[in-house]
């Protein structure tokens, strides 16, 4: 058996190095001046009997298996390893920062898991995300470099991505070609196909969780709601997942038994959004969300969705009037025939008939219809970095935007 020992992605924490002194004081929110410092059990004499000299370490642990790509293994302190540049987002359980590795200059994204607020200690969702990301490796899934502990918080260190889909669709400088949009759609589906193959449901596919870099590569991020599922049997999960606008009708109707097909609905929403540049179904609550879906696809009938009447909340939110399916009429000005075909299959009311990610990649839209997918490499000419958070801020303060525009990902 060939053992894959490469593991370039894993940058080891140099745990064997003497750790810097613990800096007392309450954990503070890192500002742009803040740098992260390592803390550890040894420095907290609250727990250990007292200060101690670091214990001897097993040789295997002391020797990084992979040459660390950022050269952190060689010395002294991992304090000051990352300098925070700016905040770029808000995750499920903490803020996301852009930071620079002070040795190599490479940018990373730091996702902070706040511990001090958690009564129950380490959040189970964070633990799930860490375990999931550690087991995933795919060009369309964001890469977790390493974990770091500092100032009473745990940080996840990710590869840095310049933009997210929401941000990049709102900007006006760079226009995506049809081939670009097809590529983005394809990359998203490839990422989902990989996740589902690995037995993972993402459960929060939306524009701000789909990241892009200046090379035009798309990666799925934020696995705070994701979980492993059992392929053989369907289990009961919570239906309070997926941001409302991307939530499939079966969840809106209260089902708790579902699988990867919930992600496919969200993917369908994203596909339409790529062309229309804004979210397609924008409800304010579960009811209005269903209504906005009905306005496009018509009201679900037992013919189109045999199980609809068995949905837990169907009787409660039963549509009062019958609406016809207007999807093709409404969207034909944006989408080609083949694109409409695929979107329709992704947004199938009946979860059991909804197309899978692997099947979707084989759709004529990708395999036959011109133009062939092409990475939006032109993104590298785009000025600034476009994340949902930044897009939001721009609306609020145009001025602030200008200051950060100077930064270009190296």
């Amino acid at each position: 058996m060939v053992v894959d020992n490469a593991g370039h992605e894993q940058v080891l924490q140099a745990q064997d190095q003497p750790r810097p002194n613990f800096h007392p004081g309450p954990p503070s929110t890192p500002s742009s001046q803040d740098t992260l410092r390592q803390s550890s059990l040894q420095e907290h004499n609250r727990l250990a009997l007292s200060h101690k000299v670091g214990g001897p370490l097993p040789s295997r642990l002391a020797t990084p298996v992979a040459p660390s790509s950022d050269g952190t293994s060689e010395t002294s302190s991992r304090a000051d390893l990352y300098a925070i540049v700016s905040q770029v987002g808000e995750g499920t359980f903490g803020k996301v920062y852009k930071a620079r590795n002070t040795i190599t200059g490479v940018h990373v994204a730091l996702k902070r898991i706040r511990m001090e607020q958690e009564r129950d200690g380490f959040p189970v969702t964070a633990m799930r995300e860490i375990k999931l990301l550690q087991s995933l490796r795919h060009q369309n899934v964001v890469k977790l470099y390493e974990m770091m502990v500092s100032h009473g918080s745990v940080y996840m260190v990710f590869e840095y991505m310049d933009h997210d889909l929401t941000g990049v669709l709102t900007q006006q400088q760079f226009a995506f070609s049809d081939a670009n949009l097809k590529s983005l759609c394809q990359q998203m589906l490839a990422g989902l196909a990989y996740l589902h193959h690995k037995g993972v449901i993402h459960r929060d596919i939306k524009g701000s969780n789909i990241l892009l870099n200046n090379r035009g590569e798309l990666k799925l991020a934020d696995f705070g709601l994701a979980r492993f599922y059992q392929k053989r049997r369907r289990s009961d999960y919570t239906n309070r997942v997926i941001t409302l606008w991307y939530r499939p009708p079966e969840l809106l109707l209260g089902t708790t038994v579902y699988g990867p097909e919930v992600d496919m609905w969200s993917a369908g929403c994203i596909m339409l959004e790529l062309y229309t540049k804004k979210p397609v179904f924008q409800g304010n609550d579960d009811i209005s969300q269903l209504d906005s879906i009905y306005k496009v696809f018509g009201t679900p009938t037992p013919e189109r969705w045999p199980g609809v009447a068995d949905m837990p909340w169907y009787e409660l939110v039963k549509p009062k009037e019958v609406i016809e399916d207007h999807f093709r009429v409404l969207f034909k000005k944006w989408l080609s025939h083949a694109a409409l075909d695929l979107a329709e299959q992704l947004l199938n009311y009946d979860p059991s008939k909804r197309i899978t990610a692997a099947q979707a990649l084989e759709a004529p839209y990708f395999t036959q219809e011109e133009p062939a997918p092409a990475l939006p490499v032109g993104l590298s000419t785009l000025e600034g970095e476009w994340h949902e958070l930044e897009a939001k801020r721009e609306r609020e303060r145009v001025k602030k935007r200008r200051r950060t525009e100077g930064e270009v990902f190296q």
């Binding site: 803390s39 059990l41 214990g55 001897p56 642990l61 380490f122 633990m127 087991s135």
Partner: protein, 419 residues
């Protein structure tokens, strides 16, 4: 597991060698009278984890994960400098979350308080504050380097030896992460097919795996190797299975003329079960398997001298006490259990006078077993642990003392390791 074992941190970073395990105990060895106590402490702590885990209703795999966390933590820390009981509680708590069967932090604190206040542990001061446990959890996760995906031998055992679809008898599969993923290569090698172990033998193998967590085996060898070693041991120790194997191979030489009839009967019975060639077909190092078997046997020999007092009023034949025994406890006990395969309680506490006296002072007065060696009890070990920590504290207070030259040595050692 959805994760590929060969790509996992478990394989890449957390399988260590014997010397590393030894080094991790260097400081503790400074403060203990007899280094052998440290081995007994390994059993003692694993039992405590198991006991707390059972109280919390954790499944066997979760308890196993907690035990691995505990051992990994003490690759980097010393018993004498930490509170192992707080660490145990944190390990159980983290494992419950990592294995998707979370329990509430309050329950962990209150169950730990009640379990560890029993006489044999004598911990009257287990913190009642949730935040203490949450804090410990934080340091634990830090020292575990956030590597929380653990592979266990149970899964290999069930994949190799369980009948298709009957796995629900055991709790392996239920709720295990990514269990639905059945594609990808089997990570122990090329082996095709299965070895069908009869129920009782399978159960015995399962229990032996439970027992391996009393030692450092989970740090030293990949889980699938441990599983193969355990299957080997089971074939030897489980009488009916061994007999059937012997019957299978013996007539092959003795009764050559009747070969045809034997084959015929084999055909009517089933596809011939040949455990020996099945094991030989596995793409694993049989030398290493033999080493692991030796170490398991060594564990049982040690364990034989460890006697857990039964807390008064509680039946010691319960789930936990049932696991104390070993197939080697006494020769008769061993064979008896091998024969039944299921009953695990036979040999435990048959000579449990140890909880009577609780001798206050010298451990030299400790009970001696039939073979003249000392019997070790949890009460004794609790006292050893307390003494270690007091000695360590005293050294720290003094600022120097016998600990000093040791520290210097360690600095050198570390410089060498770094350089």
């Amino acid at each position: 597991m959805a994760t590929d074992f060969w790509a996992s941190s478990h394989y890449k970073r957390w399988i260590v060698d014997r010397a590393a395990v030894q080094r991790a105990r260097a400081e503790d060895r400074q403060y203990v009278d007899d280094p052998e106590y440290l081995d007994f402490l390994g059993i003692f702590f694993a039992n405590a984890i198991s006991k707390l885990g059972k109280k919390l209703g954790l499944r066997q795999r979760v308890i196993a994960t907690a035990t691995v966390f505990f051992r990994r933590f003490y690759l980097k820390n010393s018993y004498c400098e930490t509170d192992p009981f707080l660490v145990i509680a944190a390990c159980c708590y983290v494992a419950s979350k990592a294995e998707e069967s979370p329990v509430h932090i309050k329950n962990v604190v209150s169950e730990a308080r009640s379990v560890f206040s029993q006489d044999m542990y004598g911990i009257k001061t287990f913190p009642s504050d949730n935040s203490k446990l949450a804090e410990m959890e934080f340091y634990l996760v830090d020292d575990l380097e956030c590597d929380m995906t653990i592979f266990h031998p149970y899964r290999t055992l069930m994949t190799l030896c369980c009948k298709e679809g009957s796995s629900s008898d055991f709790d392996t599969e239920a709720g295990e992460l990514g269990v639905g993923v059945n594609d990808g290569p089997r990570y122990w090698g090329t082996g095709e097919g299965k070895l069908e172990l009869p129920g009782p033998a399978l159960q015995m193998a399962w229990f032996i795996i439970n027992d391996t967590y009393r030692s450092e085996l989970c740090l030293l060898y990949p889980p699938h190797m441990i599983a193969v070693a355990v299957i080997n041991l089971t074939l030897v120790l489980h009488n009916p299975t061994r007999t059937s194997i012997q019957n299978q191979s013996a007539p092959a030489q003795a009764a050559a003329p009747r070969r045809s009839s034997r084959q015929a009967s084999n055909h009517t019975k089933k596809p011939a079960q040949d455990p020996i060639s099945f094991l030989a077909s596995l793409n694993v190092s049989m030398t290493q398997v033999a080493t692991i078997m030796q170490e398991i046997i060594a564990l049982y020999t040690l364990w034989d001298r460890y006697k857990e007092e039964s807390p008064s009023g509680e039946t010691s034949r319960g789930s936990l006490a049932g696991q104390q025994g070993s197939p080697f406890t006494t020769s008769s006990g061993g064979t008896k259990r091998s024969a039944t395969g299921v009953s695990r309680s036979g040999s435990v506490n048959t000579s449990s006078g140890s909880n009577g006296g609780t001798p206050m002072d010298t451990r030299e007065e400790g009970e001696t077993g039939e073979d003249g060696k000392m019997v070790v009890t949890p009460t004794l070990l609790s006292r050893v642990l307390r003494k270690m920590r007091e000695a360590k504290l005293a050294d720290l207070a003094r600022g120097s003392g016998p600990g000093r030259p040791m520290a210097v040595n360690k600095m050198i050692g570390r410089a060498q390791a770094a350089g």
